[in-house]
């Protein structure tokens, strides 16, 4: 993928509709990110591309809005005592390696099977990871909801924490002590997924919860530190190649900084299992969305034969269901906040 061959001056003319669309998606994406630690990117990149923004500029501009949003969200949630900075930085370092490996894999697939093969790989990864992890998170969230919303450390995390393998690291903020060797694979997988589907948090947050034993609220907040560190590095790289359209970034940021703060505040209104519930719901709807996009790539590779009208319809439904994922997620967040506030006021009265 020779990004230098693209013409960075081909930035789109901004219409009023484009500005409103980007601002709103930025706000909703920010709301979800502030609440679950990630999200929004999967709609923003295809959304910008549908406005005529070249793919690379869309990815670069999305990343450049993501890291300041994550920074603001992380600072906000740090004030609520929800961020484990030490965990975030260690995870970010290993995620950086995962990103590099993920990019290499993408390049190999691109050279072997072209862009349709690469798109199929991305969609397959999306569907597999989101269905497997999303189902597990949903099952756990329902279990948590039934037993009063109290979170329990998984038996896997408890077992790993008991293994004294040098170097052992203390994470006082998360209230746990675990070997570095068990945190590295989670960070690495987060980076790999970030390089593949641009939303590393879909594996980073569940990984921190179920493998390391970090509480859900803390894991979702710590993911913002990882997103900031990875996003800053990636944005500098893209900006050095002149791929960032700063106008798009500022419009999205206008909405997302409002949303991310609201999402962060929202975490203090709800029981911890709601974080898992929102994350799992979004993951499962996005999995359906990406599943609907797969026949297009299979047809391009000659592995399936579907008519262009049907493919066009499936792609439209795919994009609409991604937007639906964000809307449903933000609806649950706002609904939970409203209920949480009402309960709080009733208790205070």
């Amino acid at each position: 993928m020779d990004i230098l061959s693209l013409d960075p001056t081909k930035f789109i003319d901004l219409s009023a509709m484009a500005i409103i669309f980007l601002f709103l998606v930025g706000f909703i994406g920010g709301l979800v990110s502030g609440f679950i630690g990630s999200g929004g990117a999967f709609v923003l990149t295809p959304g910008m591309m549908s406005l005529g923004v070249p793919g690379t500029v869309a990815v670069a501009s999305n990343m450049c809005h993501k890291f300041p949003k994550a920074l603001v969200g992380a600072i906000k949630r740090f004030r609520y005592g929800q961020v484990d900075v030490k965990m975030g930085l260690i995870m970010a370092a290993s995620a950086g390696i995962g990103v590099q490996i993920g990019i290499k894999i993408q390049q190999v697939i691109l050279s072997l099977w072209g862009s349709a093969g690469s798109d199929l790989y991305v969609s397959t990864s999306f569907v597999l990871v989101l269905v497997l992890v999303g189902s597990y998170v949903m099952k756990d969230a329902i279990k948590c909801a039934r037993c009063g919303g109290e979170e329990e450390t998984t038996s896997l995390a408890k077992r790993l924490q008991k293994i004294e393998l040098w170097p052992m690291i203390n994470f006082p903020r998360s209230g746990l002590r675990i070997s570095l060797w068990f945190t590295l694979p989670v960070g690495f997988a987060t980076g790999m997924l970030a390089a593949t589907i641009a939303v590393g948090g879909f594996i980073g947050v569940p990984g921190m919860i179920y493998v390391i034993g970090v509480p859900g609220l803390m894991a979702s907040a710590t993911e913002l530190v990882i997103a900031f560190a990875m996003g800053l590095g990636g944005s500098i790289n893209w900006a050095m190649h002149g791929m960032v359209d700063i106008r798009l970034v500022l419009i999205i940021l206008g909405g997302s900084l409002l949303g991310v703060q609201l999402g962060a505040i929202g975490t203090t209104y709800v029981k911890p299992h709601m974080i898992k519930m929102v994350m799992a719901t979004i993951m499962l709807i996005v999995a359906v969305s990406r599943g609907l996009a797969m026949p297009t790539y299979l047809t391009k590779l000659g592995l399936m034969n579907v008519g262009p009208a049907m493919l066009n319809l499936m792609n439209k439904v795919s994009f609409a269901s991604m937007c639906l994922a964000l809307l449903v997620g933000s609806g649950i967040i706002l609904g939970s906040m409203w209920l949480g506030r009402r309960t709080q006021l009733a208790e205070a009265a």
Binding site: P68, I75, N170, G242, G254
Partner: protein
């Protein structure tokens, strides 16, 4: 001017940072296309978009934070950190050649 507003509502800061953010966006978009093209030169011009988003994070971030407070939407519980009971080091560490 009667000042009956509560101290917990940072109206002044909201107006200040809101004005600064509006001024920043107005100034930027007056020359938006030219600035975007300049920042797309790559190389050392990369500092442009990065510095811009940090500035917006501060100005707009402060505005957004204060705005939600003014609207009465603020955090219910401030600190959820766990106890550090689980982080105690073991009295005796395992040794390979014991």
């Amino acid at each position: 001017m009667a000042t009956t507003q509560s101290n917990s509502k940072p109206i002044g800061r909201t107006i200040l940072f809101g004005s600064l953010t509006a001024a920043f966006y107005t100034g930027f978009f007056a020359y938006g296309d030219a600035i975007a093209a300049q920042f797309a030169q790559g190389s050392f011009w990369a500092a442009g978009p990065i510095a811009t988003v940090f500035a917006v994070s501060y100005l707009h971030g402060e505005f957004a934070s204060n705005l939600w407070s003014v609207l009465g939407i603020s955090a219910i519980r401030k600190d959820v950190r766990k106890t550090t009971e689980a982080t105690k080091r073991p009295a005796q560490r395992p040794v390979l050649n014991a």
